[in-house]
Symmetry: C2
Subunit: 281 residues, 2 copies
Amino acid sequence: MIDVITTVTAMKAYVKAIKQRGETICLVPTMGYLHAGHLDLMREGKSLADHLIISIFVNPTQFGPNEDLGKYPRDFDRDKRLSEGVGVECIFYPDASEMYPKGYSTYVNVEGITGKLCGIARPTHFRGVTTIVAKLFNIIEPDVSVFGEKDYQQLVVIKRMVGDLNMKVKIIAHPTVREEDGLAMSSRNKFLSPDQRKSALVLSHALIKAKGLVKHGEYDAAKIRQMAIDMISSTPEAVMDYVEIIHPDTLECIESIDSKAVMALAVKVGNTRLIDNMVLK
Amino acid sequence: MIDVITTVTAMKAYVKAIKQRGETICLVPTMGYLHAGHLDLMREGKSLADHLIISIFVNPTQFGPNEDLGKYPRDFDRDKRLSEGVGVECIFYPDASEMYPKGYSTYVNVEGITGKLCGIARPTHFRGVTTIVAKLFNIIEPDVSVFGEKDYQQLVVIKRMVGDLNMKVKIIAHPTVREEDGLAMSSRNKFLSPDQRKSALVLSHALIKAKGLVKHGEYDAAKIRQMAIDMISSTPEAVMDYVEIIHPDTLECIESIDSKAVMALAVKVGNTRLIDNMVLK
């Protein structure tokens, strides 16, 4: 039977018992509504430590005032069944008042890289992410924690926080898991109508095409970017938020793809904002 | 022999060895130039855990652009001798580039209570304090850490951070240590000329007088505050920064001293900014 823990105090006691036996913990933080991408992260997590704990918490501080906090999909019973199936031992499942009690006022913020890409449309998003992840790390004390590369900027921001604040946990990046047709898995894909679902393929198609261009010797980032922008603008119901070709660590825009480069993009399909990215080189 | 450790990596290895033996750590963070108040904190710290570690680090992020970072007093050899005398086993003594390497960009911030009192004249001060203390807690993993009540707002801010971020460490408040004539001990007292040293007594004298008034039934905070303001304005070279009567936890100003109240004040004596506080009730 999987343990479901809803309070910080109980979770800390659970962790303390593991630590006293000198055993290790892997944490996979999630917002629930699990898909095959999450389960893949958990399978990797299972191999990395003695104990696999996940958290399920739809974190209000990472949603902006006009975003989809209220309608973010939730199905705890299904999540519990799925995570049990991949060997999760314990789910930390607190409610918002447990994590942000009255008078709550402390935030962890990574400056600079959080102002780019998704940080432009979502200026308070990463502050919410780093704050909740710092809290989860303090409560669960993981030796290792796994994050998906699909949320590429989040991964870079978390790594920066862990390095800057000298946290003990090791961050593992897990490759993006895709549907058969290439769409990156996301809990938000469920919001897409059948037609929008087809339009959503423009993200992965643009990335694959960009990678192909680089492979064939096109190093001009502006040209590759324009190709992707054209693809998006000719796709029904798709509106570009950003398309950028960036350095994988600094997230600075790159002009010429001479060395390591990642293409990252965000596209609104109907009301659903989707993101994806791919290493170009 | 006391151990002096200057790198994060070496400090973490030192801590790991202690933790593997299941032993506990007390951390007393300091900016060095130790005085009897620090040593008193250390003596208490010594009694609270198996190992006593102190840090000496003049933290640049808690100084404003026009403050006294450059001339903050330093004397490591003396600090080492003094701390060895009270049983400190290890000094963590990093330089600024070790704590804030190139590209550093993560800050911990407690909102609300950091905008009052000292936060008005020093708007980035507490962000620097919480950031460095969070880093020290992550590096040294103390079970307990001792802070002086002299820096009362700092103490409240640190407690709030620890609670909000679910940190494991227990924060102990140590009573303000005073010179024989009542002046609160501070590394900055060394900047005072003999005449300024006399003027500096206005801080503790105003607090003692306020406490006396409350004891004799004066509950009107405005009247007590005015008494202190008058005392300061009639003192040579003394300029009031603030005088407030506050709730000990929220730091909100109080109008009537019906229940718990602390008086806190900051006064510039010459170029030296001094703070002090006292429980009125």
